[in-house]
């Protein structure tokens, strides 16, 4: 096996093709199992969507094995998910109700699909008043498959496996800003982000506390009603008065600012790192999650390449000195890929640092990629099928 640093000076390979194929086999098999229901469905578009995504996910995993790089290949999947999810979602809304906006009549009848971003807001009212402050339905209905029970069950099951890595392997919103962050060649505002990173990374926690407490006080999902940038590319309350017009204005402004412009300028996931309360909430699971990124202090030369590459400012000079990431690390692997000295390593808690880091990476990636294929993959397959269905020449 070649050293990791040689993998970064391409084209040297990290693993042989044969070994990489062998290591990819379980994921190929998993993909086949996950997409068999789609293959059994009637309709050529669904079949093509399933086969394309099956090959896509398997190929990316193979490349992770072959090159030893994680972030580079994960990002391709994640950006595809981020850009194709709204496409499939909006298409479904337009077919179902002719518009992206959700009228009061749909909220009253429980037809709003549940979004996992609301989860922290609903905890206190659910615990103390047994009330869900969301206009959805608890059980799935003919017009709302994304019911509260289904989505919370899915989120919790995925979180058991992924922890905070949800934000880099499952969140269908993060890929949009990761895409915009990837476009620019030059990193702007770098000094500002580095200088004020310690304050910026506290903002999601402040918003989380605000959203949880205010939602419980006024019995409204505050984040969903006022602060979610992704309402601009999914669904939003129909504009029917000044209040809903202001809400719509906030959604669009936050989307343009935090998801398009700032990621483009800073090459960071600014919404995830400096705003998202759900991301802060997921960070709590890093305390119990078994996998983490650590720094081998004997190899580290304090070049700060890892800190610069981190998309969510989850590294500080102090944390690197201690050989750790901060609580908001989402295990995307950017720092490990960027480190030229092999100092940033995957680590399984309870084992010695920098001893068999590739084993830790493999154990993490099998679980993470299996969940990505199951959840994100099915969204991608659905979106590809929708695109094929809408092809102009069909």
């Amino acid at each position: 096996m070649a050293s990791r640093s040689s993998a970064l000076v391409r084209p040297a390979a990290f693993r042989s093709v044969g070994r990489s194929v062998l290591l990819t086999l379980p994921i190929a098999l998993w993909s086949l199992v996950m997409f068999t229901p789609s293959l059994r469905q009637a309709g050529r578009d669904s079949h093509i969507g399933a086969v394309v995504v099956m090959l896509f996910m398997t190929t990316l995993f193979f490349l992770m094995m072959r090159t030893g790089e994680t972030y580079r290949w994960r990002r391709i999947f994640f950006v595809a998910l981020g850009f194709l999810f709204p496409f499939g979602f909006i298409a479904a809304l337009v077919v179902q109700r002719g518009t992206m906006s959700i009228p009061i009549s749909r909220m009253v009848s429980g037809d709003t699909p549940f979004c996992f971003m609301v989860t922290p807001s609903i905890i206190l009212p659910a615990a103390f008043a047994r009330t869900i402050i969301f206009p959805g339905s608890i059980l799935p209905t003919a017009s709302n498959h994304a019911s509260i029970a289904i989505m919370i069950g899915l989120w919790f099951a995925l979180t058991l496996v992924l922890g905070k890595a949800w934000c880099s392997y499952a969140c269908f919103f993060g890929g949009i800003e990761e895409g915009f962050a990837a476009i620019a060649k030059r990193r702007r505002l770098h000094r500002f982000v580095t200088k004020y990173g310690h304050i910026l990374r506290l903002i999601p926690w402040a918003i989380l506390v605000f959203v949880v407490l205010v939602s419980a006080a006024i019995f409204e999902p505050v984040y969903c009603m006022w602060l979610c940038p992704f309402k601009a590319v999914t669904e939003f309350p129909a504009v029917r008065n000044v209040e809903t017009a202001i809400q719509m204005g906030i959604f669009v402004a936050l989307f343009i600012g935090l998801v398009v412009v700032l990621p483009f300028l800073t090459k960071k996931r600014t919404q995830c790192g400096f705003f998202c309360p759900f991301g802060a909430f997921q960070s709590l699971f890093n305390k119990i999650h078994l996998f983490e990124i650590r720094f081998d202090r004997e190899k580290c030369v304090d070049c700060a390449l890892c800190q610069t590459s981190c998309p969510t400012v989850a590294l500080s000079k102090e944390s690197i000195r201690e050989g750790k990431t901060l609580l908001n690390c989402m295990k995307c692997g950017a720092c490990v890929d960027a480190c030229k000295k092999d100092a940033a390593v995957w680590h399984l808690k309870g084992t010695p640092v920098a001893v068999k880091p590739e084993r830790a990476r493999l154990l993490f990636l099998y679980g993470a990629w299996a969940m990505a294929t199951m959840f994100g993959g099915s969204i991608l397959a659905n979106s590809v099928a929708t695109m094929l269905h809408w092809l102009p020449w069909k």
Binding site: T131, L154, F219
Partner: protein
């Protein structure tokens, strides 16, 4: 020795995480969803309309009257009562109905609306309060969660605001 035990525990945990991952689509997701579904939770009355108080049967349709919904401490909604006319496809072209909301045998409001032949056409309606407990409105569609006349599937949902001074007593 301690390091060895820790490492064994860590690898066991990592192995279990993979087992959990394999169980997610086949078993775990459904199990967790089932737990949420059976946790005795309900949708907030602002959206669901609250609990049903009683049903009034008419010739071809019925009127379902809900319990009044009062805002909690800092909740921004006005207090309201939900009334549902169903099935919408059995309603006459024009509905003008006097409804007893509090079950005292006397009508409290007169609800009138014209049911559009096309279900996708926006509905508008009037409510005339017949006593001081309720608030009248005219030509309302979906102005707010406390004041609406909307079609949801095969139902017409009407929400009548309660007079805050009376409701608060």
């Amino acid at each position: 020795m301690r390091a060895r035990i820790l490492a064994i525990l860590a690898y066991t945990g990592a192995g279990l995480t993979l087992v959990v991952a394999a169980c997610v689509p086949f078993f775990l997701m459904g199990a967790f969803s089932g737990l949420v579904a059976h946790a005795g939770l309900h949708i907030d009355a602002t959206y669901s309309g609250g609990t049903i108080a009683r049903t009034i049967q008419r010739n071809n349709y019925r009127i379902v009257v809900y319990q009044p919904v009062q805002p909690r401490m800092l909740e921004r909604i006005e207090p309201f009562v939900q009334i549902v006319f169903e099935p919408a496809d059995s309603l006459p072209a024009h509905v003008s109905d006097e409804v007893d909301l509090d079950g005292d045998g006397r009508p409290d409001v007169r609800v009138s609306f014209t049911v559009p032949a096309n279900a996708s056409v926006k509905l508008r309606g009037d409510v005339t309060a017949l006593n001081g407990k309720y608030v009248s409105f005219a030509h309302v569609a979906d102005e707010s969660f406390s004041r609406m006349v909307v079609r949801t599937g095969n139902q017409i949902v009407v929400r009548v605001p309660l007079n805050k001074d009376v409701a608060g007593r």
